[in-house]
């Protein structure tokens, strides 16, 4: 009898485990990758735009053609794909999205498929940080897009999508880092007084990374489950955030000769910044497993006081049905580092055509549709920063009419940030492999497994070896 009971209990426990195994509420995904571009990308308000149809008339040239696509997926990205049926109806072509994943998953998939010669795609998602790896496998796009068609796009972004005299990407939207902070915490009079008493200066949105650290320290534990800040803690995301603060502190990732330079004094200070945040428990312990959607979800749930984020999450954060911080947050430009620099990691999501595509004309037509003013405007309404001047003009006009002043303010901050704070990772094919060497070392430094200097030195040695093998020092 006892045996029977034990058995039933054991199996019942197994069933309970299985029943409890409903996956956690999926954190809506959003900007998986930074995006955007330098300098002149500052959206010059252009002509007021009309409601130009995305598909101008019916074009049956591609009747019967099936395009295979690999796109970034999840949350806010999906909205665009709903419009593909309109293009299919107008052209007679079909679009089969054969692969969806986050930016890092697509990167692994594309690299492997391209190298193996099995990448049977016609259109692929791409990114200004990633495309340098795939250039041998991509189709130059200048022959499919006229100057007239390209003139509305940010010329600076198009420039960063151009290598060796060829255009490899057509941008979809852009993004740049911006600090998000909770106004209910920063405007709390009691917190203001406590902060002033403890740190000797007024509590206000962080102007420097030092203040950012103080704020993270101050707010941690102020309310149940509240952490000061969080960062995406793995893959390129962590290396990128490190790079961003490294630049603000006066450091460089690589020097002019492509030698690793991140193990400088500025690099050690930057790594130590992350180490201190982690060691003092000012960030969630599982930060090392978080990517963009994870950190955004933490902020959305009200668990984070202040953190670096992308503009693209805006409509998600402002939705009271999904986010506790809706209406209770504000934005400010990136803090200044020790070198007096504000640095905003930036880049652009984009589309490319693989050289192996058998339907390049149709693929180009689809990209024209997906990056048309109409579709880009719909994406911009979700919070993504557009890459067409006409769309910028439209969202600025919309924001001017909005009841929420942040709708307008965020665009003004974005323009200033893009014009002044922009920096992009080095446009070398080895950027992502470089971050795959650096990130585990940064994690080890954060977790206290290794000293900051030693960790960065070891990463630098490995990176130098990789770049040497790639022939960077033979030139």
């Amino acid at each position: 009898m006892f045996r029977h009971k034990s058995l039933v209990l054991l199996i019942a426990a197994g069933i309970v485990l299985a029943a409890c195994a409903a996956p956690p509420a999926p954190a809506p995904q959003a900007p998986q990758q930074p995006a955007a571009e330098p300098t002149q990308a500052a959206p010059a308000p252009a002509q007021p735009a009309g409601d130009e149809p995305a598909v101008a008339g019916v074009d049956r040239r591609f009747d019967g053609v099936t395009l295979r696509a690999a796109f970034i997926g999840g949350g806010q990205y999906e909205k665009m794909y709903e419009s593909i049926k309109d293009w299919e109806a107008a052209t007679g072509a079909k679009v089969e999205i054969v692969y969806k994943g986050d930016g890092f998953e697509i990167d692994k998939k594309l690299k492997t498929d391209f190298a193996a010669g099995t990448g049977d795609y016609d259109v692929v998602w791409n990114h200004t940080s990633f495309f340098s790896q795939y250039i041998p496998f991509l189709e130059p796009l200048e022959k499919y897009f006229t100057q007239e068609e390209l003139k509305d796009f940010s010329q600076a972004i198009l420039k960063s999508a151009t290598r060796d005299g060829h255009l490899w990407l057509i941008p979809r939207h852009a993004d740049i880092s911006v600090v998000h902070y909770r106004t209910d915490l920063y405007n709390n009079e009691q917190y203001k007084a406590e902060f002033k008493a403890k740190y000797g200066y007024d509590l206000a949105p962080p102007e420097t990374w030092k203040q950012f650290f103080d704020h993270a320290e101050f707010f941690t534990g102020k309310e149940p489950g509240l952490f000061g800040t969080n960062f995406a803690g793995k893959e390129e995301a962590l290396s990128g955030r490190f790079y961003e603060i490294l630049v603000a502190n006066g450091g460089k990732m690589l020097d002019e000769n492509f030698k690793p330079a991140f193990n400088s004094e500025a690099g050690v200070k930057t790594a130590q910044f992350f180490r201190e945040l982690y060691a003092r428990k000012l960030v969630p312990a599982d930060m090392t497993s978080l990517l963009w959607d994870g950190v955004a979800n933490n902020f959305c749930q009200g668990n984070i006081a202040v953190h670096n984020e992308w503009f693209g999450w805006y409509s998600y954060f402002q939705d009271p049905k999904s986010c506790k911080v809706a209406g209770k947050f504000d934005l400010i430009r990136q803090p200044v580092g020790e070198a007096g620099i504000r640095s905003g990691w930036a880049g652009a999501h984009a589309f490319s055509i693989p050289a192996s595509s058998k339907n390049k004309e149709a693929a180009a037509a689809l990209i024209k549709f997906l990056t048309s003013e109409k579709i880009m405007y719909e994406e911009a309404k979700l919070g993504f920063l557009p890459v067409r001047d006409t769309v910028w003009a439209r969202i600025i006009a919309d924001a001017a009419k909005s009841d929420n002043p942040l709708d307008k303010k965020r665009l003004e901050i974005a323009q200033i940030a893009i014009a002044n704070d922009f920096f992009a990772p080095p446009l070398i094919a080895e950027w992502i492999p470089l971050t795959n060497i650096l990130t585990p070392k940064l994690q080890a430094i954060m977790l206290g497994d290794i000293d900051a200097k030693q960790g960065l030195d070891e990463a630098a040695a490995e990176v130098e070896k990789m770049l040497a093998e790639a022939g960077y020092y033979n030139k």
Binding site: P24, F114, A285, D286, S289, M466
Partner: protein, 280 residues
Amino acid sequence: MLAPSLAIIAFVVVFPLVYSFYLSFTSYTLLRPIPAWNNFANYQRLLQDPIFGQAFLNTLLFMFVTVNAAFLMGLFLSQALARTIRGQSLLRTLLMVPMMFAPVMVGFQFRWFFNDQVGLVNNVLTSLGLLNGSIPWLVDRWLAMFSIGVATVWMNTPVVAIILLAGTLSISPELYEAADVDGANSWQKFRMITYPLLGPFITIALTILSLDVARGYDIVSIMTGGGPAHRTELLWTYVPRVAIQESKFGLGAAMSFVTVIVTVAFTLYLFRQLLKSRIL
């Protein structure tokens, strides 16, 4: 019929193996997929790679613990089930529930269970008043290995239990009746009759289990990705990290071959044990 079979095997097994073996002697990378012969450089490099060594040891330790834990639990369950008279088929079906989950799903489930902020385990411990704060199950080296181990054991125990149950039910009841006549207690019957006669089944179960755990990529990849900071790196998470994320395909191929050689040696050992137990 032999020729087509050989051709198919050559195409799907031999060619990829030979080609990847060739790549392991080249500097082939995904960014520059042109194989350039570099002798034993990849093999020399992996021997000097401390992370590879750590992943190797982690894999051995992980296999040792999870295989034994799944075996012991499977053995216990099989014996309990064999003695269950009413509802045995229902219980057998329920026991197979974990086998119906894809390893990727198991990874997602247990990643949520062990999430330090919203996970089931920390919430239950907090509700019971046993925990104040949170335990970083998937960050601490040993806790993370333990968490992955729990998921692996949960998924693999039913396979062992079903195989051993089949073995137990195939043992002639007359042997137990004779033991009853001799006054043997339950433990003596298990030790002197059941366990020895289960020998071949145990070897089969261990072989399947060991190979399954040794290949275990999905659960680890989903729960920790081999991180943070390589803390839960196993061979099969490290090889794709090197080959695909870092693009060093030639080096990754060399690592795969070292791993395959060890796995084949281990499999041969298990098969020898299987043959021995059948002879006995």
